[in-house]
Symmetry: C2
C-alpha cells in the first residue's frame, strides 16, 4: 500500500479488505468499517460492512476545509489523479491542485457508494458469513443508506462539519439524503444534474435497463458467480443508458450520418453508422467494469429515492447555509424542472441557493465532459464559501 | 369478403393472398399485385409481390379527389373504421365522414408498407418459391421500395394524379421518396413528424432495438418459424421505442410517481411504479401484432433513408404544388430541426410550404393521440387545396 496523505496526518486507516471476484477497487482506496448491525433504511441489516473512499489535499488543523464528493451510479472514489494513484480519475479536470475544486485549498474526500462494486460493501462483495459474493442476499439498499455510509466515513475521519458536499447525478440525490439525515454535518452543497426524485421517463428507462440484465439467461436469478456473467444484458443496459445520458443534438454534431468503413455483421443488421460503433465501444468498456447485481441495486435505489418522502426528511433543524444547483438544458434524465425543484427544496431548508442552468448540448453527462462550463461556477461558489 | 366501395365502382380487385403464420391482415384489405421481377432500390428483386391497402370514401368520376396515407412503421392500412370494417383504425379520429380528412369529400387510400406483416409482401409473407415465410431471404428493403409499392397501388386504381400524400413518421419519409421517384403523381403533401433522414440519436435507438431482437436466442438468426418467436427481444424493443415515442413531460403529468398496488416480481426488481406497468402492457400488445423480421427490415430501412441521397432524388421536374409540414416540439426522434429541414427541402422542389410546429407534450406519437392539434391544420390545408 502506498503512503497516503491522510495517513501521514494520523487519520485512521483500515487494511484493504478481501474482495469478491467482480469487485474492482482503485489502488489508493481507503476503507471505513461500518459498525456491525448497521441498519438500512428499508429494514435490512449489514454486518462487517465497509465504505471505500479516497482523499486528496491536506486536512487543515481545524478540520474545516473538507469537501465531500458523492459520485454517480457507476463512478468510484478515484475522482482524480494524485500521488498515490496517478491514473486519471472520473472527474480529472475538476479536482486537483489549482483546479475548480482546488486540493491546494480543500481536503477532498470522495466516497464510493455503499452498494457499489468499487470497494464499498455491496452485492459483489464477499459476505462474511459465506465467504461468497452476497448477490441478491445483500439487503435492499436505498440512497439513504449510501448517504449514511458517506456520513460514517466523514465522522470516522474525525470531521464534525463538512464545508461542502458535492453530488453529481445519483450523488446529488445521495447528497440530499446526507443533508436531511445528518443536518449538522454539511455547511454547503453543490447539486449537479440531480433531482428530488426520478420522473416516470427516467424510471421507465432504468426499469428497462434492469429488465434486460435480468432477462439475460446468464444473470441466473442473480447467482451468476461462479458460472457466468450477463454480458449481453449489461451491454444492452449500458447502451440504453448512454442514449439517455447524452443528447441528440451533440450526437448530431459529432457523428452525423457518417458510415463505418465496413458492415459489422453477417446477418445484414450489424452496425453501419459510426454512432453504432461508438455506443458499442462505450458499452464494451462499461461491462468490464461493473457488477450486474450492484448495478441493479443502485439503479433501483435511484428510482425509490424521494427527498420529499417523510421517512427521508429530518425533523431536526437544518444548518445548511448555502447551495449551488447546476443543471443542463439538454438533460433528458434530470431535466431542468427537476433541478429547479432541488433549488426550491434547498431554499426550504433555509439555505441561500444559487440556481444556474448551463447551455451545454452534452445532456446528463455534461458534468463529465463540459468541465469548463461546470468548473467556473463551482470554483466561484467555493471561493465565496464563508470560512 | 365484404363488398367494398371501390369494387362497386368497378376498380380492379385481387383475391386475398395466402398469408404467413405471423402475418395479420385487416379484413377489409385490398391487394395490388406487383409485377414479377419488381426491382428493389438496393438491387434485390421480388416475384409475386403484393401491396395491401384500404380505401374509404368515393372516387370522383374525374379521379381527382384522392388522398394517399402512408403510415408509420407498425401501422396497417386500416386507418379508420368504415362499412367494410367497423373496428377503429390507427387514425380513427382523423379520417372519416366530417373528420379532418373528410371521406365525404376525399377518396382515401391507405397503403400498408411493403415489408410489413399486415398484408403487403415482406419477410413474414410466404415465398412463392418455398411456400414458407421469406424470413431473411426477403431482399433488402428500402423506403424507396415502400414508396414504389404505394405508387403502384395508386396507378393500379387508374389514378394518375393524387391530390395529397399524407405521411406520418416513417410514412413521411416514404412520402418524400414517393414525391422524388414519382414526381408527376402528387399535387400536395402533408408531412407529419418525419425527417429527411434519421439523426444519430434515432439511429442509436433503432440499432439497439434491432440488436435486442437479434440477441434473443429465440430469434434464431431470423429463422424462428416454426420453432419459436423472440418475444422477449420484441418486448424490449417496443419498450425502448415507447420511451422515445412519448415525452418525459407527458409521463410526468400522467403517471408521476404513482405506485402499483403490489410489487410485480419475486426477485425484488419487478415493476413497482405505474409507468412500468403501462410500458409493459403496451409492449405486450405490440408483440402480439408484429413480426420480428418485418420489424428489423423496416427499422433498418428508416436508418438507411436519406432524402438528400442522389440515388433517391429525381432528375425529372417536380410538380408538387404545396405542402404542409407539421412537427411537435417534444419529439425526441424527429426533433423540430428535422421538420424544418423537410420544409426547406420541399420548398427546394418548388412547392409552397407551410411549416407549423405544435406545442404538444405528447412527443413523437402526438399525431396519434393529439388529434385535435393535428386535425385543425390538416383540415385547413386540405380545404384550401386547389381543385
Amino acid at each position: 500500500m502506498p503512503v497516503m496523505s491522510a495517513e501521514v496526518q494520523g487519520l485512521p486507516v483500515t487494511p484493504a479488505p478481501a474482495t469478491g471476484p467482480y469487485e474492482s477497487v482503485p489502488p489508493a482506496s481507503r476503507f471505513a468499517d461500518l459498525p456491525d448491525g448497521f441498519v438500512l433504511h428499508r429494514g435490512g441489516m449489514l454486518d462487517g460492512g465497509r465504505v471505500a473512499y479516497e482523499t486528496m489535499g491536506r486536512l487543515a488543523p481545524q478540520r474545516d476545509n473538507v469537501i465531500v464528493i458523492l459520485p454517480g451510479l457507476s463512478a468510484d472514489a478515484h475522482v482524480a489523479s494524485h500521488d498515490d494513484d496517478p491514473t486519471p480519475g472520473w472527474w480529472e479536470h475538476m479536482v486537483g491542485p489549482r483546479k475548480p475544486i482546488d486540493t491546494d485549498v480543500w481536503f477532498v474526500v470522495c466516497v464510493n457508494s455503499l452498494g457499489s462494486c468499487r470497494g464499498s460493501s455491496g452485492p459483489a462483495s464477499l459476505s462474511p458469513k459465506t465467504g461468497r459474493p452476497y448477490g441478491l442476499t445483500f439487503p435492499a439498499l436505498s440512497l439513504e443508506d449510501v448517504a449514511d455510509g458517506a456520513a460514517h466515513v466523514v465522522r470516522s475521519l474525525g470531521i464534525e462539519r463538512v464545508a461542502c458536499v458535492v453530488g453529481t447525478s445519483m450523488g446529488g440525490m445521495v447528497s440530499l439524503a446526507f443533508v436531511e439525515r445528518h443536518p449538522d454535518l454539511a455547511r454547503a452543497h453543490v447539486s449537479i444534474s440531480a433531482g428530488l426524485h426520478s420522473p416516470p421517463f427516467a424510471i421507465a428507462t432504468r426499469s428497462l435497463q434492469r429488465e434486460v440484465v435480468r432477462n439475460d439467461p446468464e444473470w441466473r436469478g442473480g447467482a451468476y458467480w461462479p458460472h457466468g456473467f450477463p454480458l449481453t444484458g449489461m451491454r444492452t443496459a449500458r447502451k440504453l443508458g448512454l442514449i439517455t445520458y447524452r443528447s441528440a443534438e451533440e450526437w448530431g454534431h459529432r457523428f452525423g450520418r457518417r458510415r463505418l468503413p465496413a458492415p459489422g455483421s453477417s446477418d445484414g443488421f450489424g452496425p453501419e453508422f459510426e454512432i453504432e460503433a461508438y455506443v458499442q465501444a462505450n458499452a464494451d468498456r462499461f461491462v468490464e467494469r461493473f457488477d450486474p447485481n450492484c448495478y441493479l441495486y443502485l439503479s433501483r435505489a435511484i428510482d425509490w429515492f424521494d427527498a420529499e418522502d417523510s421517512s427521508t426528511r429530518s425533523t431536526r433543524g437544518h444548518t445548511l447555509e448555502s447551495a449551488l444547483v447546476l443543471g443542463v438544458r439538454s438533460d433528458l434524465l434530470f431535466p431542468l424542472d427537476l433541478q429547479s425543484q432541488v433549488a426550491a427544496h434547498l431554499r426550504g431548508l433555509g439555505a441561500r441557493v444559487a440556481f444556474q442552468t448551463l447551455d451545454s448540448d452534452k445532456g446528463h453527462d455534461a458534468f463529465l465532459v463540459d468541465c469548463a462550463a461546470f468548473g467556473a461556477p463551482i470554483a466561484r461558489f467555493l471561493e465565496h464559501l464563508p470560512s
